[in-house]
């Protein structure tokens, strides 16, 4: 079920009313309703893959119980690796089987050996990368004794399948979300209003910004061989805003929806395009994944401890793995490696934590230095997104080559793009003024009611008027 669909517009109020008026007699019933709603939400795409979620949940539940009883370190390790093998096994098979097979065949043929193996026609279950990482966080935290294993299967099943963030995150930590399933839910008016506001802003980002940018980005990337450099640059910019609107829009809707049910999900985006360096960008982009890799990969392999070589190695590992998490394609790996290259100078100069707070805090305008930092970071990101969006590495390199052709300074044909080229800067301006909030529209809290409602109506009208071709959320494919 898509968030931006009529199905969801009916589903959400129905589940909301059942949750607060019918299932509110006990916590257990509310959690059972969440599981039922989540399985329905997921099964709307393909009910067959519900068995994968259920199987992962059962395995992690049993591993958790096993870990609570096991004191012997060897036994605990076996249990942990059982969970990791099962969860990553599913992920590896569904997402990476064909990639590895094809690359092995290519590698062997390079050395003169011919291997005959046929790839499988595997359908990638929606959101598998997200819920796999979420369930793993439970087992790893229990193993590390950061979390007491739950004995309530219902709670764990609700945690694993919680529909607002099931298919595209934020990837929640068991330490944050699981205890919320064990706590009584008290309806909060302000939290719910804030949730609705965040849903509205998420829909705006997805429908108005992302889906409209997608039309042009898709066209330009598909026909890149025939485009001028200036048009290719415009295509890369459109994709830059598409992916931000798409993914942060999804996260806003997810977080807002969870709020309606009394849950607090972690923040996933914090105005990344206002970052002054790439390290700051990665603290503000897909925060739940970055911190997941930091806590469960970067720190366990040594983190920033050790010598320079170790730091460099660990940085590359985390960025390349993060790239590979996005998809079984060399483009994602290069995208990850490129970001590692961007990050490296900051790490080596020990300047990777110099921009922690949001830019120009408490001020309207940034300094010239801040503007410079933001511009450089933004354009480096745009360049990296070309690899992320391209069909393959050849396409990415020819696209970049095309940008830097002699036609870069030719005025692009912006017929059909004029409205969007006006809306995107206005959107950025709104985001700038709301950057100290959790999401830009949270600014509305401070406004007087008439002003607030005028803005809501304008956003709803914009969503209505500028609904383009409905596009799948980009991150569903991951």
């Amino acid at each position: 079920m898509l968030f931006n669909s009529i199905d969801f517009a009916i589903f959400l109020p129905v589940v909301f009313l059942l949750y607060w008026f019918v299932a509110n007699r006990s916590l257990k019933w509310q959690n059972i309703l969440i599981i039922a709603a989540s399985y329905l939400f997921y099964g709307w795409w393909d009910w067959r893959f519900l068995s994968l979620i259920l199987f992962s949940t059962v395995v992690d539940y049993l591993v958790g119980i096993g870990l609570s009883k096991a004191e012997d370190i060897r036994k605990r390790r076996i249990l942990l690796w059982t969970s990791i093998t099962v969860n990553l096994g599913f992920l590896g098979f569904f997402k990476y089987y064909n990639f590895f097979l094809e690359n092995f065949i290519t590698a062997f043929s390079f050395f003169g050996s011919e291997i005959s193996a046929s790839s499988l026609n595997i359908i990638l279950p929606v959101g598998i990368s997200f819920y796999t990482f979420q369930t793993l966080s439970y087992t790893i935290d229990v193993y590390n004794r950061k979390l007491e294993p739950t004995r309530d299967f219902i709670s764990l099943a609700a945690f694993v399948s919680f529909f607002p963030q099931l298919v595209a995150g934020p990837i929640e930590r068991a330490t944050n979300l699981l205890p919320q399933f064990d706590s009584p839910r008290i309806f909060s008016y302000s939290k719910s209003v804030d949730g609705l506001r965040q849903i509205l802003w998420g829909l705006f980002k997805k429908i108005v910004i992302a889906d409209n940018c997608a039309v042009h980005a898709n066209y330009i990337f598909a026909n890149s061989a025939d485009m001028d450099g200036s048009m290719l640059l415009l295509g890369a910019l459109f994709f830059t805003f598409q992916i931000y609107g798409d993914f942060s829009g999804y996260s806003d809707i997810a977080i807002g929806t969870a709020r309606l049910f009394g849950f607090d999900l972690m923040r996933n985006f914090a105005f990344p395009y206002f970052s002054r360096d790439i390290a700051e960008f990665w603290r503000r982009w897909h925060i739940s994944l970055s911190t997941w890799f930091r806590d469960y990969l970067y720190i366990p392999i040594g983190g920033s401890r050790g010598g320079t070589w170790m730091k460099v190695r660990n940085t590359f590992v985390i960025f390349v793995v993060s790239g590979f998490w996005h998809g079984a394609n060399w483009t994602f790996i290069v995208w990850g490696a490129l970001n590692a290259l961007y990050f490296l100078p900051l790490l080596l100069a020990k300047k990777n934590r110099q921009n922690i707070e949001i830019v120009a805090q408490g001020k309207v305008f940034p300094t010239v230095r801040e503007v410079g930092g933001m511009m450089i970071t933004f354009w480096l990101t745009v360049l990296a997104w070309i690899f992320f969006r391209a069909e393959n590495l050849t396409h990415a390199f020819s696209y970049i080559d095309g940008i830097f052709s002699s036609n870069l300074f030719v005025l692009p044909d912006i017929t059909g793009m004029k409205a969007l080229l006006l809306i995107v800067p206005l959107f950025l301006l709104f985001e700038w003024f709301g950057r100290e909030k959790e999401f830009a529209l949270a600014l509305a809290e401070e406004w007087k009611r008439p002003m607030r409602y005028i803005v809501y109506y304008i956003i709803i009208l914009a969503i209505f008027l500028l609904t383009g071709e409905q596009q799948q959320f980009i991150y569903f494919q991951f």
Binding site: F187, L461, F464, L465
Partner: protein, 315 residues
């Protein structure tokens, strides 16, 4: 909770009121084109009503609107003719209901429709037609979800038209249908007094003919609709005949196996008699105008002559 539900409910209501108000306000800005292609239904039905009973009704989609010379049939057979064919986008269901409505005692109905045509058609086109000719509201079923989609997109188009009009200092454009833009030959004035479309006469063939589909076989449920039509017009004392549409040789060859099976189903299950054979409707590609079903003037002449022969032999 109560406060939240009341406030969010009121907000939702205010949004609905805002949209309804905008709809009412913007819709009055929009002129309906009198020369719209679908408005030709008014003239066709007026002629049918004026003739009354004992007439020849040519019914179907645009294939019959484009391909028949009704004046010649009337002159040769001495029976008044009306061509009610308009657009296949209306769907079999609509066209069958319309034909039942027009038919009277003693009428001869010649029905022809493009291969494998859908039953439902386009809801927006049906509503659009009914706006011109309210009696057409009886030819299809009201659908709430389709209505919602239709009015939403209409409000969107109207608002965008006004916004773009303001930006470019141009007045809001008149309502046009995607299918029949005001600049095209597809207009009400392109029809003659018999209901035949003649707006394309004398024009050269377009570069590439449209609707050149490659079919996949499945049993055509349109047969049930035609049998329904047959039963209803029989009750009224009219006679129904079916005739295959005019179609290019080359397209028939490409779809031969499927269309032969289609013909077998028709011969087996269709209750009204079929005039001629499927092959008799085949013409050289050069006599078509813009689609694989619309003939040019030369093709119209051949087609009409053939139909007159068939009707004569039936008498």
């Amino acid at each position: 909770m109560k406060k939240f539900l009341i406030r969010s409910g009121l907000f939702l209501l205010s949004v609905v009121i805002l949209f309804v108000a905008l709809y009412i306000l913007t819709d009055s800005h929009i002129r309906t084109l009198e020369n719209d292609f679908m408005a030709a239904m008014i003239d066709k039905h007026q002629r049918a009503d004026e003739i009354g009973s004992t007439k020849i009704i040519i019914a179907g989609g645009s294939n019959v609107a484009f391909n028949i010379d009704s004046r010649r049939i009337e002159d040769e057979l001495g029976i008044p003719v009306v061509n009610v064919g308009l657009s296949v986008g209306l769907g079999m269901d609509f066209i069958v209901n319309e034909t039942i409505d027009v038919a009277q005692e003693g009428d001869i109905i010649v029905f022809s429709i493009t291969f494998f045509e859908t039953i439902d058609g386009l809801y927006s086109l049906k509503r659009h037609t009914a706006q011109h000719y309210p009696r057409a509201n009886h030819y299809f079923t009201f659908n709430l979800s389709e209505e919602f989609t239709l009015h939403s997109s209409r409000l969107r188009d109207n608002l965008l038209s006004i916004v773009y009009g303001l930006i470019s200092s141009a007045p809001p454009s008149a309502e046009t249908d995607d299918l029949f833009e005001s600049e095209s030959i597809y207009t009400r004035s392109g029809f003659n007094e018999y209901g035949d479309f003649t707006g394309h006469h004398g024009l050269p063939q377009v570069d590439e003919l449209d609707q050149r589909f490659t079919f996949e076989y499945s049993y055509w449920t349109g047969i049930d609709e035609l049998n329904r039509l047959n039963r209803e017009v029989e009750k009224k004392g009219a006679q129904l005949y079916y005739i295959y549409p005019a179609y290019p040789f080359s397209d028939f060859e490409r779809n031969r196996d499927v269309l032969i099976r289609f013909d077998e189903d028709m011969r087996k299950d269709l209750e009204p008699p079929i005039l001629g054979s499927i092959e008799d409707g085949l013409y050289d590609e050069s006599v078509f105008f813009d689609t694989a079903y619309h003939l040019q003037q030369e093709g119209v002449s051949q087609r009409t002559e053939y139909l007159i022969e068939l009707l004569r032999s039936e008498r």
